[in-house]
């Protein structure tokens, strides 16, 4: 009886191992990576800040945003960090900590949307190139080579310069200039799985090309693309801040981190804190995304691990 019981438990354990989805396996692997978990926690905190600030704005009808984040209070001009203002105040006497917290949404949302847009434009091209190969592949990839020939930030600057400075145009610029690298990654991962037996099986039962790509190839080619997306978010965040810094991105008085630094430069001699803290937040955010992306790569795609 006891032996039978044991057998049952062993069998059920085998069953649970089998039942684990690919996602659970990856998550188990990911959890064990301490650095990746640090990255995840920082990102979670940032997302929390983002949600809270948006909720506050929504519930108070922007009154807190208007009276603390935007409104000038020259009595506190360039105030040093203190108990009342943890990170000090900026050149217009606005609390720097509040401005930085409210600035989180620009970096996170724009970074994420820019990368998603790059993928939405570049991904399908890469998929078509990888799936069909031959002349189509050659034609698409040569066009992408041209996009890659222009330095990323220059292409983005040219697009912003032509379309005019606005958040939407910034997003378009970042999305378009980043698409080429996504088409390359997607193409490579589609090519890696397109000759698999299950694809052949799907073709044998008469599935259409579209169905094969969407239902069989895409889910299996997803891992490297996902890794690329997370790793690129960090770069996109830096680009948003960089373009805002030179005045081509988010415009003041919006508290975007790069835009805060633009004006901070002029007060560096008297108020180092205005230039130091927004940068520290930027670095921490980008490091978090890099750690998270590296962890994701190790968990999802052991082959890529160096």
């Amino acid at each position: 009886m006891c032996a039978l019981n044991n057998k049952i438990t062993v069998e059920s354990k085998v069953e649970t191992v089998r039942d684990r989805t690919l996602f659970q396996q990856a998550w188990n692997q990911f959890k064990r990576n301490r650095r990746a978990m640090v990255g995840l926690w920082i990102i979670a905190t940032l997302v929390f800040i983002l949600i809270v600030t948006i909720l506050i704005d929504f519930l108070t009808d922007y009154s807190i945003y208007d009276s603390f984040v935007i409104k000038q209070n020259l009595r506190n001009k360039l105030a040093k960090p203190s108990l009342k203002h943890f990170l000090g105040c900026d050149e217009f006497g606005r609390d720097l900590l509040l401005r930085i917290l409210w600035g989180t949404k620009y970096s996170l949302l724009l970074g994420f949307s820019a990368v998603s847009l790059s993928f939405l434009i570049g991904g399908p091209f890469g998929m078509i190139a990888g799936f069909y190969g031959g002349k189509i592949d050659n034609a698409i990839m040569r066009v992408m080579d041209v996009f890659m020939a222009c330095p990323f930030i220059l292409l983005a600057m040219a697009i912003v310069a032509a379309l005019g400075i606005s958040t939407t145009n910034l997003l378009i610029a970042l999305g378009v200039s980043g698409m080429a690298s996504f088409s390359r990654v997607t193409r490579a991962s589609v090519m890696a799985v397109k000759d698999m037996e299950y694809v052949e099986a799907a073709r044998a039962v008469g599935a259409s090309d579209l169905r094969i790509i969407v239902q069989y190839i895409f889910p299996n080619a997803m891992a490297p693309i996902l890794v690329q997306i997370t790793l690129r978010i960090g770069t996109a965040i830096l680009l948003v801040a960089g373009l805002s810094y030179i005045g081509l991105g988010i415009q003041p008085p919006a508290p975007e981190w790069g835009a805060i630094l633009t004006s901070a430069k002029m007060y560096m001699r008297d108020a180092w804190h205005i230039s130091a803290f927004p940068g520290l937040f930027l670095v921490t955010t980008v490091v978090a995304f890099n750690l998270f992306g590296d962890g994701l790569r190790d968990a999802l795609d052991p082959k890529l691990k160096k």
């Binding site: 810094y245 030179i246 081509l248 940068g279």
Partner: protein, 317 residues
Amino acid sequence: MIQYIVKRFLLVIPVLLGATLLVFTIMEFAPGDPARIMLGNDASLEDIQILREDMGLNDPFITRYIRFITNLLKGDLGTSYRNNLEISSQIFQRLMNTMILAGSAVLIAVLIGIPVGIISAIKQYSVFDNFIMMTTLFLAASPVFWLGLMLVLLFALKLGILPPAGMKSGFPGLLLSLILPALTLSSNTMAIIARTTRASMLEVVRQDYIDTARAKGLKESTLTVRHMLPNALIPILTVIGISFGSLLGGSVVTESIFAWPGVGRFIVDSISFKDIPSILASVVMLAILSTFVNLFVDLLYAFVDPRIKSQYQSLKR
């Protein structure tokens, strides 16, 4: 070998044509009529029409693009809207300045990044290695403009040993004014080079031929420089090649911080003046420059990677 070089050169031509067409097309979207901008708001419609005809603005897109390319080949980059001066005369010195900045940045990144990466790999998991891995993690994630501001804060404002901005001339002056911007610009690349060197060296360290060489009684230093480094060099070269493009891009921001008179700052200024021909010319020139740098790196592969060399030698036979 020559075959390889010629082939690489020929492959560059379509890329260059494509890149110029891309930037030219993007600039087509710019709002405003150039003729109106040049003549001002008071100009009559007739005057504008005459100038448009003179400037060839009424020609179809393809004609204008071909004219742009033929002029470019002749060294004529057009006329600026801002000051009616020839762009080529304004841009040439600036291109040189940008190249000085980007070149020094690459030099610093290589001179610091590779040795640091090697030591990190040899002393894997040591205190030094951990410190370097932490530093490079943050350095690779730091925005160039923020690092630049911090360096100015420390070295120019607090310590007062280096100039905070501008480009000086003469022997110590140029070098001193170059240190902060070049260091700033090199930071990300330096971190990436150090990390790649470490990873690439670690892969080589475990190879059998290293054990053999060590068993023969070679000195560790000879082993590292003669046997490990050449074999670890290809990924490092790739990274240097890739980062040169982003270095040229990064120079735009760095030049703005340090008031460095390069093309990057010229572009930013031109954008604020809506000076489309200047933007077009500068972006095109930087794209051409970065394409040629990539070509140069590709050619270097042939010297470093014996596989490419032998591929072409065997073809000859």
